[in-house]
């Protein structure tokens, strides 16, 4: 390590193979990847829906009934059915990825993937049950 490495000041542009805009239509796994990414749009939609609901509840029964009628519109139901499918897709892919993204060690040995996903699914079920219990009247 004596002289600093010499750099060429003007190098030619690196060659990069051009990627087609619709590259994700070319293979099933690519398409599924883009669908998974698009689930985020429905996550954002549901935040808006939830805030509209909370706002209506806070303003009294008349506003709440108006919100329920709006949510009863076939278009809104259709969006929510699609949103439900996408959010469940997001949840399943997210939970199943966890053991790949996180390595948990217990007393020096790696916890097997199922040792991580099983508790996550249990927590998911418990939270869902708790939320339903709270919403439906305890």
């Amino acid at each position: 390590m004596s002289a600093p490495p010499a750099y060429t000041e003007f190098h030619p542009r690196w060659y990069r193979a051009p990627v087609r805009t619709l590259w994700w239509l070319r293979r099933r796994s690519y398409f599924v990847f883009i669908l998974r990414e698009l689930s985020s749009v429905f996550v954002a939609w549901f935040v808006v829906f939830l805030l509209l609901l909370a706002h209506a509840v806070g303003r009294g029964d008349r506003e709440y009934q108006r919100f329920l009628r709006w949510a009863d519109d076939p278009w809104v139901i259709a969006i929510n059915v699609i949103a439900l499918l996408f959010v469940v897709f997001h949840a399943l892919t997210w939970f199943n990825l966890t053991p790949k993204a996180m390595v948990v060690r217990l007393r020096g040995t790696r916890v097997p993937p199922l040792g991580l996903t099983a508790p996550i699914y249990l927590i998911w079920a418990a939270v869902s049950a708790l939320v339903a219990w709270l919403v439906l009247g305890g």
Binding site: V19, W24, A44, V47, I77, N80, W94, V131, L136, G137
Partner: protein, 116 residues
């Protein structure tokens, strides 16, 4: 892509929001978006939901879930536009819409939830 020191924090918000959305949203969308409108289950009365929404713990949890879910959307949607549509040259605009949208949404969430 340029190197930005804020990037790891955005990934952190993305992950946290991903977990909370995955845990909380399926049951909530099922109930309020599908089961109540289709009449599978009767919708709860307004005074009951109001009582639930006035509990400080509910407010705190809902606020955190909303904010992190919005940042989850911002980050993921930004990369969807990046990769899916190959529009990297609109970088600044995409960032403004995504993260700006998440910030505005968070403020609205705070205004709605803390004033019930």
């Amino acid at each position: 892509m340029t190197k930005r020191p804020i990037e790891p924090y955005l990934w952190l918000l993305f992950s946290a929001g991903g977990v909370l959305a995955a845990v909380f949203f399926p049951v909530l969308i099922f109930l309020f978006g599908v089961a109540f409108p289709l009449g599978w289950i009767g919708a709860p009365a307004q005074h009951h939901l109001l009582a639930v929404l006035r509990n400080p713990l509910t407010v705190a949890v809902l606020f955190v879930v909303c904010v992190l879910a919005l940042f989850h959307w911002a980050h993921r949607f930004r990369y969807t536009l990046y990769d899916g549509l190959q529009i990297k040259h609109l970088n600044a605009l995409i960032n403004l819409i995504c993260y700006g949208g998440a910030i505005v949404g968070s403020v609205i969430a705070g205004l709605v939830l803390f004033q019930i």
